[in-house]
Symmetry: C2
Subunit: 254 residues, 2 copies
C-alpha cells in the first residue's frame, strides 16, 4: 500500500489544504480546520485539460468541507497538472486540437484518450483510498463518495464499478461508449448532470449513459446550455446529494 507524503500545508476560510505525493502522483487533501475525526470522504476527479486545484475542484471542496465537514481529495490525472506528458499524451492532444480546428467531432478522440487515462488512473484512485483510510482522521469505516464530471466521469465510472467502498457518486457529461457497460455494474445512488445543448455530446448519448446505471436511486439534472455552461447551482445540488447520502450514514453509525 502506498502512503501519502505531505509536502505542503496551508489554511484559509476554515479549510486546511494539504498537498501530497503518492508514489509520484501529486494530489491534494482538503479538510475542516476545526478538525473532523472520522468524517466522510469525497474523492473527486477533475475535467480533461484541468488539474487537481482547478477552481471547479477547490470550489467544490470549499462547499463540502465547510458545508458538510467532509474531507475531499483529488489526484492530478495522468498527463495533467504537475504530471509529465508522455509522447502518447502529446499525440492524442495534438489530434484533439487538429480535429477541433477542422470542425470534426471531438467525441471519438476524447472517448479513446479518456479510456486510456482511466486505465492508469483507476489503480491510483484505489491506492489513494487505501492511503487516506489509513489516516487517523479518516479511518477505514467511514462513508466515501466520488464526484467527477467529463473526464472525471471517464475515470470515475470504471473506478466506482469496481470499488465497493464508494457508496454515492456524482457523474455527468460523457459519451456512453466504453462507459455504459461499466455503469451497468453500478448500483449505488447517483446524481448525473448533462447539458441539453451540448455541442459535443448529443442528448441521446447523454441519456444513454444515465440510463445505463443499475442504481435503484438515480437522479438526472439536465440544464439548458452548452458543454461548458453547467450552472454553478449544480455544485450546490451535488453537495446536498452527498450530505444526504454520506451524512446520513454518519448519523446512523454515531
Amino acid at each position: 500500500m502506498d502512503s501519502l507524503q505531505f509536502t505542503a500545508e496551508s489554511s484559509s476560510n476554515g479549510v486546511i489544504e494539504r498537498d501530497f505525493i503518492m508514489d509520484r502522483v501529486p494530489g491534494v487533501l482538503w479538510s475542516p480546520a476545526s478538525g473532523a475525526d472520522l468524517a466522510p470522504l469525497v474523492l473527486m476527479g477533475h475535467g480533461g485539460g484541468n488539474h487537481k486545484k482547478h477552481p471547479a475542484m477547490s470550489g467544490r471542496a470549499q462547499r463540502l468541507v465547510t458545508g458538510c465537514g467532509f474531507h475531499v481529495a483529488v489526484l492530478d490525472a495522468p498527463g495533467h497538472g504537475d504530471r509529465p506528458r508522455t509522447e502518447h499524451d502529446e499525440a492524442e492532444i495534438a489530434e484533439l486540437f487538429r480535429a477541433r480546428a477542422a470542425g470534426e467531432p471531438e467525441g471519438p478522440i476524447v472517448v479513446r484518450y479518456n479510456d486510456y487515462l482511466a486505465a492508469l488512473a483507476v489503480p491510483e484512485y484505489r491506492a489513494l483510498l487505501d492511503a487516506l483510510q489509513a489516516l487517523p482522521e479518516i479511518g477505514a469505516d467511514g462513508p466515501v463518495g466520488y464526484w467527477g464530471i467529463n473526464m472525471g466521469t471517464a475515470i470515475g465510472v470504471p473506478f466506482v464499478a469496481t470499488e465497493p467502498r464508494i457508496t454515492a457518486a456524482v457523474f455527468g457529461q460523457h459519451w456512453p461508449d466504453v462507459l455504459a457497460e461499466k455503469a451497468q455494474r453500478i448500483t449505488i445512488p447517483i446524481e448525473f448532470d448533462l447539458q441539453w445543448d451540448d455541442e459535443h455530446i448529443s442528448r441521446e448519448e447523454g441519456l444513454a449513459l444515465f440510463d445505463a446505471f443499475a442504481s435503484k436511486e438515480k437522479s438526472l439534472h439536465v440544464n439548458s446550455g452548452r458543454h461548458k455552461e453547467l450552472p454553478r447551482f449544480e455544485a450546490d445540488s451535488a453537495v446536498r446529494f452527498f450530505a444526504r447520502h454520506l451524512g446520513e450514514a454518519v448519523t446512523a453509525s454515531a
Copy 2:
C-alpha cells in the same frame, strides 16, 4: 375584478393560513406569521384527484413561507376539493376508473379531461392573481411564481403562457399533447420534474414537453421511480429555485 372573501384564519409553525372564497371558488392563502409586506408570491396548482390543502400543497407552502418568507396560494380546481362535480366531471372520472380497471392507458382520458379543467381554471387563476395583488401585503409589483405538477402543469402551462406577471415556474409529469404548443410560448426560467419509470407517461413524452419550453434557462430533474414516487427532495429543490429567481428580484428592487 373579483375580490377575496376570507372565511377562516389559523396560525401554526410560523405560518398564517387563511381560507377564502373568490366568486364561489374556494382557495387558501399561506403567509409568514412574522409579517412579510410586499413579499414574493407563489401560486400553486394541485394534482388530479387532490385538493388545495393536500399534504403536498401544505408541505410546499410550509417550506416557501418559513424558508423564504413568501406568500403561497392555491385554488381548488374545478370538480375538486370543496367544489361540486358536474355530470361531465362524473362521466370523465368514471371513464378514467374504467380504463384503469381494464388496464388501458390513462393518458388519453387524463389529457382530455385536464384540458377541459384548465380552460375553466386559467381565468380563475388570473382573477386570483388580480385579487391577491390588490392586498396590501402582496401588492402589484412583486415577483410571482407558479408551481404545479401533473394536473397542476396542465393548468399552469396555459396559465403561464398567457400571464406575463409569472416570472418563474416549476412544472412536470405530464403528457406533451395539448401542452407542448403552449409551452413553446413560455420563456421564463423553469424547473421540470419527471419520473424515469413512470407507468403512465413515457420518457419520450416527458422529455418532449420539457424540450418544448422556449425558456433560455430551464432545468430538468429526472428521478428513478414510478409516477407517484417523485422524491420529496424535489420539493426542496423547487423551493431553492423560487428563492433564486423570485428572491433575487426582491433584493434587486430593494
